[in-house]
């Protein structure tokens, strides 16, 4: 288990918004490792795991976006049937509540990371 940095960007739910965001990544030569989009009616929050989070934060602020960076947990899973189940079992036993989760598959395809946002960080750190 490790901690990694996640970027959250506010976006209106309108055509072309994603393209506007990916352009900033492209122009700043930042590689996206994983992402997730949560939308609610007229706005949404896009979350990204990237190779250079600090640089991305700076670039988006400069481009006038509302953006925040926080630490999330990355839990290693085996990339095979039952891999996610093992992790889910463990999380359930620890009594942790996940706000939001998505998967990052590592380049070598030896394993996958479950990116999860757990607000009770102390409890999570102890359990994981």
């Amino acid at each position: 288990m490790k901690n990694i940095k996640q970027l959250s960007i506010f976006a209106e739910n309108k055509p072309g918004k994603l393209e506007h965001i990916t352009k900033v990544f492209e122009e700043n030569k930042i590689n996206i490792l994983a992402f997730n989009i949560a939308s609610q009616g007229d706005f949404g929050i896009m979350r990204f795991i990237v190779d250079k989070p600090e640089k991305a934060l700076e670039a988006f602020k400069k481009a006038g976006f509302t953006i925040s960076m926080n630490e999330v947990f990355a839990i290693e899973m085996e990339d095979k049937p039952g891999g996610f189940h093992n992790v889910a079992q463990f999380i359930a036993k620890s009594g942790l509540n996940i706000e939001n989760a998505y998967v990052l598959i590592e380049k070598d395809r030896q394993g996958a990371l479950l990116i999860c946002d757990i607000k009770d960080t102390e409890k999570a750190k102890k359990a994981l």
Binding site: F10, A38, D42, F43, G64, T66
Partner: protein, 435 residues
Amino acid sequence: MSLIWNKKAECLLPLEKEQLQLERLQHIVKYAYERVPYYKKAFDKSGVKPSDINSLKDIEKLPFTSKAELRDAYPYGMFAAPMEDIVEIHTSSGTTGKPVVMGYTIADIELWSEVMARSLSMAGCTKTDIVQNAYGYGLFTGGLGVHYGARKIGANVIPISAGNTKRQLEIIRDFGSTILTCTPSYTLFLAESAKEDKIDLKSLKLRAGVFGAEMWTEKMREEIEKRLHLSATNIYGLTEIIGPGVAQECEVKQGLHLQEDVFYPEIISPESLSVLSEGKKGELVLTTLTREGTPMIRFRTKDITSLCGGECKCGRTTIKMDRITGRSDDMLKIRGVIVFPSSIEKALLEINGLEPHYKIIITRPHQLDEIEVQVEASESLFSDEIRHMEETKRNIENHIEKSVGLKLKVTLVEPKTLPRSEGKAKRVFDQRELK
């Protein structure tokens, strides 16, 4: 305490003031009647003659003048002085139809300089000040009005006019401007740009600002004073009367001193048109007591305010008007409820962390009016959790509902996407198609 520019005119005793106003009123009514065909026709129609004005109260016998009549007189129909005596012309921004054209004689320009000198002095301006005048120069009265007043005081005027924000900030910093004059919304825009350009607003020499030409609120004043580190005062005026300088706040900042020796104010009910007593809220009606070029008799300003007499802590005895809280023609009727956009603004600005930029959109999708208020999701409102954002949205909706008594929908939009204005801000978009 700042200097009172014209003690004689600004500190008149009640009886002296009334006597002076009556003499001037009698003169201007006769002058207008004899020289402007429109007034002759309107007075005759109402069956009133200049000789019927024997007390200040008799002004109520005279008919009102409204913007429509001034438009009909386009271009020179309201001029009372011969063309060779007119030395300057200004027009009011006509958003619909033809503009209103006003003419100034040498004496009118002197009057304007005088009331603007009084106004700037109230804000603390002296001959040692550097006035950065970011009101637009041209047919709009803002720029030249401040210019004439500052010149009369003997201050140093930087006639930069409106716009070009980057240059405005550089000049404030490099020239050491001490007084800023522009619209309040532009002031906030400047503060925002300064942050982006990494200009430290605390290090600037600005100490006072004279802001007007649009409606603003007490909360906006707090915001401006906090962000720009200056004392922000409110100025009022309109082209039809003279331009800026009709009224201005002193350092007490509780109401604007109206230059009563030259402009006579009344408050009327916009519905019944009857004159309301002091302290009552209604539409401001003004009469120019000494204007030569285009005298105005009982001009309906459409601005909603109230008047309050008595001596001010600053020593002036001129009547004070409240800040403008609405326009009788901007008044919105939403689902039968009367709403002024300014009251929505006031409620919005009471919410911590909210940027003072917003858009109000009114639609009627299914027989019923709906209002949407767009606000920017600034960093301080942002949370990386959808449900917190939803909560923030609901809190804003509830807060507005509580203070204006109207259910509406709040939409969060991306930062810096709502229009910033360099002049008067357009924030209300009525898209109802009324059949």
